[in-house]
Symmetry: C2
Subunit: 284 residues, 2 copies
């Protein structure tokens, strides 16, 4: 059995599956888990690859540890989305973290991953984690009103279709700004510099309108189309290069499959075509 992932009308990537483990139409989207050859368990939302066991370490290392090792002492962390649990798992490895709140809109994704992908979901019952099945946009708006503050916020969203659409909007990032501490950082899933150029421009434009420090960084996993994808970075005060705490990383005793000191710095080196597209929105 081959599972299809289409990009536009010009590309179709097929993964060979041994078995369909889960399939349900949630309130928001079609959620499916397959057991695939080579890649292990794979989660698809709306026929798009979210996570595979084979390469999830790349995505989760890079969305989490870049902001976590730039901030001097991240204690209170918010994850929006990230229903598979991999981002929360990586956040909770940092000994500085006192509390992590995760707000995932779709409980069906969480349930499917809890049952079929323990590799990513294994820490979803961690004592330092509060897991809310709720709308991240609403959560952030209410957090602003209640005066909550976070050190690091990670927007681990899927594509800007369906439930993730408002996570790519100006109002959302204005609210994010309000609930970050003075040295706070927000990192967001930033799509592909080859396939989603308009979306990268839109997201970076919103961030640079809202934050004094903005940047974009790249990583390379296996199972997103084209392999080469981006995360956006924004902060009230911290630069991911000048303020990078490489000593803290090297003394952390944490072991990563992808992330290291050179990869942290190198990920901010962007190719010329991407630089031309985004340079006016990058503020170091």
């Amino acid at each position: 059995m081959w599972v299809d992932e289409k990009t536009g009308d010009y590309l179709n990537i097929q993964y060979k599956a041994k078995e369909k483990l889960f399939s349900k139409q949630s309130e928001f989207q079609k959620v499916e888990v397959y057991d695939c050859e080579f890649y292990g368990k794979m989660l698809f939302n709306e026929d798009l690859v979210m996570v595979s066991e084979k390469d999830e370490f790349v995505y989760h290392d890079m969305i989490t540890h870049v902001p976590m090792f730039t901030h001097p002492d991240p204690k209170n962390v918010l994850v929006i989305g990230g229903g598979d649990g991999g981002t929360a798992r990586e956040v909770l490895r940092h000994s500085s973290v006192e509390h992590c709140t995760m707000v995932e809109i779709d409980g069906v994704v969480v349930d499917a991953c809890k049952e079929f992908i323990p590799q990513t979901s294994k820490d979803l019952s961690h004592p330092k984690l509060t897991l809310l099945i709720d709308d991240g946009v609403k959560f952030v708006r209410e957090a602003k009103e209640s005066g909550s503050r976070f050190d690091v916020i990670i927007v681990d969203s899927s594509e800007p279709i369906g439930p993730s659409t408002p996570l790519f909007g100006l109002e959302f990032y204005q609210d994010i700004y309000s609930i970050l501490n003075e040295d706070g950082i927000v990192v967001s899933q930033g799509e592909s510099p080859y396939y989603h150029q308009e979306m990268q421009v839109k997201l970076m434009s919103i961030l640079s309108e809202t934050f004094p420090k903005t940047n974009i960084y790249n990583y390379a996993n296996l199972t997103y189309p084209g392999g080469f994808w981006s995360f956006t970075y924004a902060s009230k005060s911290l630069c991911p290069l000048n303020d990078f705490k490489s000593d803290r990383l090297n003394n952390s005793n944490l072991d990563f499959e992808y992330y290291n000191e050179e990869i942290h710095r190198a990920s901010f080196a962007i190719p010329n075509f991407q630089k031309k597209m985004l340079c006016k929105f990058i503020k170091r």
Copy 2:
């Protein structure tokens, strides 16, 4: 019409084609050119993507300019393979180059690209270029006997199946060593760190056995499976980081779509899983 590219028995990438422009079984392999949606003209050898107009700039920038801006004054350059012409095109942009020799084993590939992919093949009649349709392994052996010497050698090969197999062997690299000048550099197409780990280990092991300076660097294009691929680097004396001539790059007036100073340095930052696999073969 969808054109399939299989990786192992677990992945099938399909490109939507408007038209098949060329198809011929050469002495060595099946050679095809399609006009595809989004990617433009694409060359397939043995059903594997070699080049697309959309992203060939990434591959050709990175295989060419990394060694060319590490060497202080590359005058005599040898390209083995590279039948589409893109690597020779990039070599010939360097004003220091007095002569470039290109040795492609399969004349059918050259003819197909000359007729259907002028974007890469446009400089194959350049006055500084000698294009030989010949076996690169034999050429290198004979060049050793005749005492020819090169500053930079680029092994722009396809997968280690069919005609490219001997280009991944020890004898070939021993001969390459013999025909390089004292500050000579050889860069080779190094496969994917995710999908071809055995091949990366084998190639890096051969290089570190033969050369005093060896390294590996990564780049990210669109149309190779997984997107994230490598080039190997070896030299008798030059380190691609310490000896990198960034001034010469910045004063060159050459404009690149992918390559720049930060990308040059960043490409040598390798993720931990690749470092673990290859660190004993990297000599800086």
